[in-house]
Symmetry: C2
Subunit: 404 residues, 2 copies
C-alpha cells in the first residue's frame, strides 16, 4: 500500500534512447525481469554508485566500464542482486556484458550491468543468454513504462516521471525511473534509478548535475537505514534535442539542473511512498542548524528511530519519542532553545512539552498520511530535509517472508 | 515472551540495604510502581547516567545530588518517566526528594530520584506523597524480588541476580536488579539497574568498578538503537561485609570487579532476553579488528539493521543481509579477507558466500533461539561483543499500542 503514489499513465520517450523488456525467468513470478536500454551514438552518461564495501559485482563492473568507454547499453535484471557472489559474480557480470556486446555488435566494456533482488545467489546467466535475442529485437523508444515495471522487486507501484523544458527554443525532455523498496538508505545513489534526457551537455557537467540532484533527493531518503549493495543511479544525455551544447554553468545548465533535480526528488520520494509496509510519508525538516551535516544527523536519527516509526504507524502523537531521538543524535544544541513541531503544532519548547500543546492537536496531525516533523535547532542557519516511512506490521511481514 | 530467561526464586539480601515497594497508582494496572531503597550510614555509591541531551528531570537531579552528598535513599517510580517535562519536571523531582527526606529525617540532596515510563507527562507527586508513609514503614532487607517487580514497565520477567565471593575470609554479597525493555541502546548506562554489595570499598574505586563493568555489559546491548532519556545504573556499597577496605587495584578489587561484571552482564543480557517482542537472543562478536571502536561500530551496524533483525525473526539464513550491513558500517577492511560466521558455520569468505556453505547449515543455526554472528575483520587484534534481539510483529505491536 503506497502513500499517495499514483502510477504514471504514460512516460515521454527520450530521443536517442530505446528500451526493451522480457520475462527471462529470473524472478519467480514470471513477470518482466530483464531490461535493455540502448543509448544513441555520441550520448553522454553520468552515474553514482553505492558506497557499501560489499558492492555487488555488477556495480564493480559498471564503475570499471564507465571509466574506459561511453556506455552504449545498460542491462538491468531484477530478482537477483549478484551481490556477495565473489569471483563467480564478477565472471557472471562480465559474461552478461559480453553477451549483450555480441548481440549488438559493440565492445563488452560499452555495456553497463545492473542487478537487484536477493543477495548471495549466483546470477543465472544462461537465462539471460536465452532471452537476449528477443530482448534486442524489441528495442523501441516508447517503452519506459514497461522498463519501469521490469526493474521492480518488492515495489508495489511503478515509479516514473517525465518533464519537458525549452532551451533556446528547443524542447528538452527528461524521463526517469526508480525502484525501491527496502534496504534503502542510499549513500551516493539509490537502489536503481535511470534518468535520460535528450539535452546536449558535456560529460563533466552531466556528472555535476547528477551529483547535485542526487544529494537533495536519493541521498536524503531512508526506509530502514540499510544501504544496499547494488545502489546505482544513471543519468543519460543523448544530445538529440538540438539545444546549444552546455559546457559551463549558465542559465541553460541551471534550467536543466532544476528539472533533473525535480525528477530525482519525485523518484526518490516515490520510493519512500512505496516503502515496504509504508502507511505514512514523513518529512524530517531540520532548520537553523550550525551545519548541513548536523541537520542531516538529527533528521536521520529521528527517521531511523524504531520507536518514532512505530508511533507514526499507530498515528500516536507520542512526541516524547521524537524528543528522545533528537536528544541522542549526538549534535550540540541548547535544550531550552530548541523547538520541535509536528506539522504546524509546536510540541517541544523550553526543554519540555510546549505549554500550548494539546493531545488533540497532535492527534490531528498524526492522523494524516503525510506528516512533517520540523526541528528548529537554533544553532545556526543551515537546513536539511530527509524523507522516510513508518514501521508497520507489513514491514516485518515483507522482510520475514521475502525469500520464502 | 522472553528468550531463555528464568525469574529468580530468591535474591540475597545485602547487609545495610533495605527496600520497600507500594502501588501508588502511577501505573494504570495497579501493580507496585514506587520503590524506596535505603542505604546504611557510611555507604558509598557510584552511578552512570544516560548521555541523551534530553535527559529526564530525575536524572538531572540525581546527578546533582550525587555531587553534593552521599545518597541515603533512592526513590524509583515506574509508569511515568518525568522526561520532556521542562521546569515542572525539575520541580516535581526536587519535591519527591524533599518528601522522602521529610519522612526519613535526612537532607533532600541525600535522596536520588529515578523514573521510568511514558515520556512527557507530569509526575503525579501527590500520589507519591500519599504513598510515602506506608512505603517508609515497609523497609526491610529481604525485599529485592518485590523491588525488581516494582521497577518493571513493558518487561515480562523480573530481572535479578545474586552472587557471593569471599574476601579475606569474609563473605561479600552482590545483588542486582535491572529493567528494560524498549528504547534500549544504553550510552553509559541502561534504563534502570541497581546493584548493591556489602563490600568495603572507597568511592573512587567503586565508580571505577562500575564504569568497567558497565562498558562490557549495559553499554554493549541494543534493542532498537534508541537511547532512553532516563538510563541510570547505580552501584551501592554498604561496607557491612567486614572485609579490609579496598583502596587500590589489588586482588580483592579484581575479585569484586569480576563478580560485579558478571552481575552486570547477566542483568544486561536479561534485558535483551526480555526485549520487546524478542524471539531470539543474538550475540554480535566482532574479532581481529584494528580497534575496539571499529569492532563495536560493525557490531552495532549489524545489530541495528532492520533487515537482519527481521531475517532473525523469520529464522531465515538470509546471510546476504548480514554481509550488506557489514559493508555499510563505515569501517575499513579487505572484502577478500573478512570472514563472517553464523554460529560455527562460515557464511562469507573471499568476498562472497563461502564455497562450503549450504543453506541447510545456515537454517540449522537460524532455527536456534540463541545465535552468535561472528565477524573476523582481519585488520588487527581487537574485539567487541554486542547483544541484541530480533524485530518481530510483537515489537511493532507493543510499540504501536504502548500508550493506548
Amino acid at each position: 500500500m503506497a502513500v499517495n503514489l499514483v502510477e504514471p499513465d504514460s512516460l515521454l520517450p527520450v530521443k536517442g534512447i530505446r528500451l526493451a523488456t522480457v520475462a527471462a525467468g529470473i524472478k519467480k513470478n514470471q513477470s518482466d525481469d530483464l531490461v535493455l536500454i540502448e543509448l544513441a551514438d555520441n550520448s553522454q552518461c553520468a552515474a553514482v554508485f553505492t558506497q557499501n564495501k560489499f558492492c555487488a559485482a555488477p556495480v564493480s563492473v559498471a564503475k570499471k566500464n564507465m571509466q574506459s568507454k561511453t556506455p552504449r547499453y545498460l542491462l538491468v535484471n531484477s530478482g537477483n542482486a549478484n551481490a556477495g557472489t565473489g569471483e563467480q559474480g564478477m565472471q557472471d557480470a562480465f559474461e552478461s556484458c559480453a553477451l549483450v556486446a555480441q548481440q549488438a555488435g559493440c565492445e563488452p566494456d560499452e555495456v553497463l550491468p545492473f542487478s537487484t533482488g536477493v543477495i548471495g545467489e549466483n546470477l543465472p546467466v544462461n537465462k539471460i543468454e536465452t532471452a537476449l535475442p528477443v530482448l534486442h529485437e524489441k528495442l523501441v523508444e516508447n517503452n519506459w513504462l514497461n522498463a519501469g515495471r521490469g526493474i521492480m522487486t518488492t515495489d508495489t507501484k511503478l515509479k516514473g516521471i517525465s518533464r519537458q523544458i525549452t532551451l533556446q527554443g528547443k524542447t528538452v525532455t527528461v524521463t526517469g525511473l526508480s525502484k525501491g523498496a527496502g534496504m534503502i538508505q542510499p549513500n551516493m545513489a539509490t537502489m536503481l534509478a535511470y534518468i535520460a534526457t535528450d539535452a546536449v551537455i558535456n560529460k563533466d557537467l552531466l556528472q555535476q548535475c547528477l551529483t547535485s540532484a542526487v544529494n537533495i533527493s536519493f541521498n536524503s531518503i531512508t526506509v530502514d537505514s540499510d544501504t544496499s549493495t547494488n545502489d546505482a543511479c544513471v543519468l543519460m544525455a543523448t544530445g538529440h534535442a538540438g539545444n546549444d551544447v552546455i559546457t559551463q554553468v549558465n542559465d541553460d545548465y541551471k534550467a536543466l539542473l532544476n528539472v533533473i533535480s525535480e525528477v530525482c526528488l519525485y523518484l526518490a520520494q516515490a520510493i519512500i511512498r512505496d516503502a515496504e509496509g509504508a502507511t505514512k510519508f514523513v518529512a524530517l525538516q531540520v532548520n537553523s542548524a550550525s551545519s548541513i551535516s548536523d541537520a542531516r544527523q538529527v533528521a536521520y536519527t529521528v527517521a531511523h528511530s524504531p520507536l518514532v516509526k512505530t508511533a507514526l504507524f499507530a498515528s500516536d502523537p507520542n512526541w516524547g519519542r521524537i524528543l528522545a531521538a533528537v536528544g541522542r543524535a549526538g549534535v550540540d544544541f541548547d535544550i531550552d532553545k530548541i523547538k520541535i513541531f509536528l506539522g504546524d503544532i509546536c510540541i517541544v519548547s523550553n526543554g519540555g512539552r510546549d505549554v500550548a500543546y494539546t493531545e488533540e492537536q497532535g492527534q490531528q496531525v498524526m492522523n494524516q498520511q503525510e506528516i512533517t516533523i520540523r526541528i528548529e535547532l537554533q544553532t545556526g542557519d543551515q537546513s536539511a530535509c530527509v524523507w522516510t516511512s513508518d514501521l508497520s506490521y507489513d514491514y516485518v511481514k515483507i522482510n520475514s517472508e521475502y525469500r520464502s
